[in-house]
Subunit: 457 residues, 4 copies
């Protein structure tokens, strides 16, 4: 659920963005074979077909059925199949069995999309701009919702391909920068009494107009002095952790993290493959298939447990004395300093899904004029890889979920998960803002998740 | 593994049967959408795509790679994917994850079939008839192997469709006979010292020429006097069991059967749906979708536990005092009496997959001339529904599995399973003979499995 | 691990407290039969015998083996058996199998205690007061550690007795007050910039001299305005939740909380038994056996999930609009206002294990002179029942666990657990202070855990 | 359930045997500490305390409550606690949680035994000999039932002690013979039409008067020619299997056996411990604690899967070409040839619990006069170690369980288990007869189970 600022976008703008977001969802499917749409290779992963239909169900349920006079369901059996977790929206199919459904076929799902798109466009055409800010709000939620599923479509198909011994590629890899990002340096963040959470007016750019309900209420926090690392942790740094026995030393891990290491047999980050399996070098699985590890790239697909253990190791090993993960308030206060005015369109600086690389790239070396070394600055705060924070995903002071099914969007998941910030190469660029809170369970690795270190001063 | 009689069929005959069996496999797929080929809805069930490829792998592995000079694998990664359980044929993909593979695509799998078919035909063309009885033997195994998978394709797709809330139909139902098969009557079977197991010569028809290794060695048994029911147990009789609290009375069940009833929440046979769910009548899921129960049809999709409990109930309730399941030796001795000469082509009498009904039909009323009641006779001994026997699946005296991967075909499964006899509406007609031993675990229900009662005299 | 203030207690004081704490542990066992010491009825619960031996191992490992010259282990096989989770202290027995050990016998465990007590007393006698503040620190940890196990001994034996159909009593119940504590009222807490965490000097009473490492570093937080309920939630209020369908309405629960409700079949708080099972009234299991529910008592043995759902229900039902759980910082800031000077000995006001009631009692009605209603004040902030907070158990800013095995004491558990504050009827009175952080997983119910509500203003 | 022959024993004889059997149960507990009675270290294992109470409940339920006028239960809550699996005798406590019960205490359980013993003796004193053959039958069942639990008490306490890292001993080991039993030789068994099952008259000795219902009906079988090994497989022979990679070669195992090997991590027989763990030699856990392996002793504590794999290995390795396990009919036909007249009291020849050795001993070398080699003969057919047969535990032709709770004694377990014959060092000598059928699941190892090979001729 979300709250919009008092001045919602014009209907025409919404309609244009609706078309754009819906089309982007389908563009992401272009490399897929029909069979690829069907598979669910673990419970957290959904079939592409399901994502296509679920996002469509969202529009049908929360806009058309609610507001479009005389709308009749495309297929009355679909709400049961494509409701994800909204208990107040009715009974639903078991999540773990989404891969058991061969029907509706891919073609039927595209027909479902097309029918709902037509109904939505007709609905938006007929919408009286003056009277419907509430509808505009739901439409914004729907757009951001579909963008979240765009990211999941990318990470889910990556997972599905990875468990296939044929190791298919989603598409060929775009050329990545290969520069050495230089050693870790520390950038002081704003401390003392700070304000966090979505700012409905004043400090927000136009893109920050929308936010999910979990980004508010805006409130004050007190931050003791701290600094953030100027870039993400690299593959090369993670390799030092691996080589220093990081996955064999329980004293570096949270107790439940260590239990996970042992139960899952982890010996390196997810998607990494040691020399001797299929190659004589370290490789990792990417959306372009198996590739050599590049030490300059940010490490990604690490769990919170690994991020936390890496920080502890960085502290003890001398790589970064005092290192820990930043809290989400520290992250946000610092991230706001590199947001305003850095992009012409008011969106986040950094590499997102729009750039098409689909894999995090090394941080650009700090630019200095005249060959002189540039002063360090915060790099990679947005895009590339989600940054695990030290903060558990809990409600902000004064938060209460809205009543009704859309109130289930965020609030009911505020337990046992950790907050991530900043977006990734699978996130749509227009989806991110400084107050954006993503969240996953501590062992999760199938998202593009990375590490930024912090220290107390 | 199998043993052929000394005179193997001519090469030309084998080639013709190869074409026929391979084509029949693909004919069974005609009603399917691409997506239907991909799904594995429980571990026992394999995707159709996998069946198509695994049977192809079988020819490639045990014939072409072994005997065809210079044969190279169609794709060297396929043996890992499509070896089922032959540990001596190399490493293999995890059975429970067959549904995680979107690739190779259905089209690629058909290309695999076509390539292997061409290689097989070339191989058979070049085969010198005089010198290759051993090869003929392996080819017979391959044909019967593919027939077994034809049956599994039918039962597996039925299962896949059944768990889909849309309840798709494989195809429309053919008209079934609707006659009342009359009350249970008892037919004495041959007793005393009897010979069971495949007879390599003498009493065999031409179709009995082949057998799997688990059907031998032929040996003698002593049968105390007994009689078999003249037909399968009907849906109507099973309904009496249900209505008499059969699924709520632990004293009717084996202890592990009762545990299964409770863990699985069984209240009626698999695929049955009580009134009040989607209809006001008892229905069941069939390959033609949901249909009303017909009391005259044989009950099917019952587990051994249910067959055993039904027999105990039949004994106690007075329906059939003394009732129990027949041993496999009793069944075979009796079944031989209705085999010889009953069909022109030497195959089993009864309804098999060839008849296209895909659901067991009521027993034809005993035919009597001039309106006089006919003497009772054994009906439905072959086809319709596999008949659970009272016998555990164990080796016959003197049985030793052959060395090598094909020796794993049957022998290593001879524990914790029960023998079934007679074939079903999903079995190819030419696949069955009196000595044929099928076997499943006691809780299995997704095959067309039914009940024939017996009594000791 | 802990940090003491610069002036550790005199050796003689430590020795006296050592004797007192060790004796208290054994006094708690007086009602037990030999068999009661052996049982582990779920993984979280340990046998009494194990608690007796583990606390003894703690002294042997961290004091005697470390500091006592020439000390030899009482039994060299015991460290394997009685190390709980200190991986840096060596291999250890599987936690889930503590109930599989009939040996050492109870008598042998008491002999172990006696031997270690003698060695500790000799060690303390010989200790030179001037030079050993570090040892005093470890001894304080050992004393507080043993007190923690005293609490677990009480809650664990309650659990063991509860699963026994004979429902034995630990001991007869002491008379409890029975007054109606009055309606919920709200007390504003200190807001703005506040200091939380253990205060090594200045504001601490003598008892606050010691703290566990997880209570620091002391740091500032910003608290938006809030108020706390003046007392714990009662059984009567929880009954209204039950009667209002609280356990059947998913919209009141966190998603994982609702999953727990369904998996565990919860319909009311743990240890409650509805009418119709063994009585015609609501009962609950207590350390005095089955007893009628008393609506005035604080509800206890609720999980975080239930506390959270109750707060949401209180908000929606109108019982307490805006209700939520307090954060741990809110709780601590408010709790400090009722700490200083309220008890002559500087310990917490409220009912602890020392009072011997072993079950939470109703809040005393606010005392007013002359029959006039007293102004509301914070009651039951200490003792009675641990109070679930809204805060996840995470490190304070700047926290790093100490190196070595004792560093595992708290830090490695800082994930997936929620903070509780205030102590319970099973906690030793001298064990509690305002900064004390207890922590359990959200579904845990076997501790004396209750609910205090808060609101944002 | 059982059937006695027409002439039941005199009441005085029954009373004497009752006293003797009951006393023997308690004698087996003499080495135990109170704590040892409480522990249940896996579901199959019951606490000693439970065995003592359950056998007492059996007398109370099936004799006193049924036949003793005016009998009142010793404690009306005990039937719930001590009924094992008789659903027709009422609700019962969960088997897996027998170790969660500290109460009733051991002392209370002995008081229960004493009270029931007194009631039984009074009942038997008053019993009119002429009119109560039915009661005599139930009493025989009770005596044999208690003997079965005597065996389980021994094997269960062995298991409990084995999982304790302290490895306590039940008692010191008696001296065992140490002779080399010589190479395997083969003894032809009776073949053709043979009679198996309990013989109610004629060929039975006095001890064979009683039998459990699963030993009948007596019936004919046809046995093709076969021979049995003259002795049990030894530890030395099993060691050859281990050293030949027996636990690493899937082709030697049944498929589910191999899955068990991998899931359980088996590398040698249960209770064996390889060099390098606690000693530099192969050891095994015995009721006298850890001991060196003796190559001449029979191997014991092997599962059916291991027995089956060993036989297959013996066949392929050349140790015993053609080797397999005997069917239970083969075993019984051969065992009858060494039964009649071999012992003065009509009981089985061989070492049972009465001998007090509590571990299988090497076969005595065949005795020959004048130093000449003796002709081979069947040794170790009774006692030492239960012999896994190739036969699944299924009903004999014509078997129907009796109605009522006692009818659950055997019949409902006739699935998924394998038959064992001959008794062990933990079996009471008077409990065994040629027709006796024991049964366990294929992976079970905690009983004294061994291997006898057979060959088809």
């Amino acid at each position: 659920m979300s709250v919009l600022s008092p001045s919602p976008p014009a209907v025409g703008t919404l309609a244009a963005r609706f078309r754009e977001v819906r089309a982007q969802t389908e563009r992401l499917c272009e490399p897929l074979a029909t069979e690829d749409y069907v598979v669910q290779a673990m419970t957290d992963v959904s079939p592409t077909k399901w994502h296509l239909a679920h996002t469509t169900w969202f529009w049908e349920t929360f806009v058309l059925s609610e507001y479009a006079p005389g709308y009749t369901l495309h297929d009355e059996r679909y709400p049961f199949l494509f409701n994800s977790y909204y208990v107040q929206a009715g009974e639903r199919h078991c999540r773990a069995q989404r891969g058991y459904l061969s029907r509706p076929t891919v073609e039927q799902v595209y027909a479902y999309r097309e029918a709902v798109d037509r109904a939505m466009e007709a609905f938006l055409d007929a919408l009286d701009e003056a009277e419907h800010p509430a509808i505009a709000d739901v439409i914004e939620v729907g757009l951001h919702h579909e963008q979240q599923h765009q990211e999941l479509m990318v990470t889910d198909i990556k997972y599905v391909f990875s468990v296939n011994p044929l190791r298919p590629a989603y598409r060929e890899r775009l050329r990545q920068p290969a520069a050495d990002p230089g050693p870790l340096r520390w950038i002081d963040g704003p401390s003392g009494v700070q304000t966090v959470g979505f700012a409905p007016d004043g400090n927000a750019t136009s893109r920050e107009r929308f936010h999910f309900d979990n980004e508010g209420p805006q409130h004050r926090v007190y931050l003791e002095p701290y600094a953030l690392a100027d870039r993400l942790v690299t593959v090369g740094e993670m390799m030092r952790f691996v080589e220093d026995g990081g996955y064999e030393r329980p004293e570096l891990w949270l107790s439940e993290g260590w239990a996970t290491v042992q139960e899952e047999g982890w010996t390196c980050p997810f998607y990494w493959e040691p020399p001797g399996v299929n190659s004589d070098r370290w490789e990792h699985f990417t959306l372009a298939g198996m590739r050599d590890l590049d030490p300059h790239e940010p490490v990604t697909h690490v769990s919170f447990y690994e991020a936390d253990a890496f920080a502890r190791w960085a502290h003890h090993s001398g790589l970064a004395p005092g290192a820990r993960l930043p809290t989400e308030a520290e992250w946000e206060a610092a991230a706001r300093t590199v947001w305003s005015g850095t992009t012409a369109d008011g969106t986040a600086p950094g590499s997102f899904v729009d750039a098409g690389r689909l894999h995090p790239a090394p941080a650009a070396p700090p630019a200095g004029g005249d060959g002189a070394p540039a002063p360090p600055s915060l790099r990679q705060m947005y895009g590339e890889a989600w940054q695990w924070t030290a903060s558990a995903y809990r409600p902000y002071p004064g938060y209460h979920a809205a009543p009704g099914a859309l109130g289930e969007y965020n609030g009911k998941f505020m337990i046992n998960q950790m907050v991530l910030r900043g977006g990734s190469v699978a996130t749509p660029k227009s989806h991110i803002r400084p107050s954006y809170r993503n969240f996953f369970h501590p062992p999760a690795t199938w998202q593009f998740t990375g590490i930024r270190l912090a220290v107390s001063i």
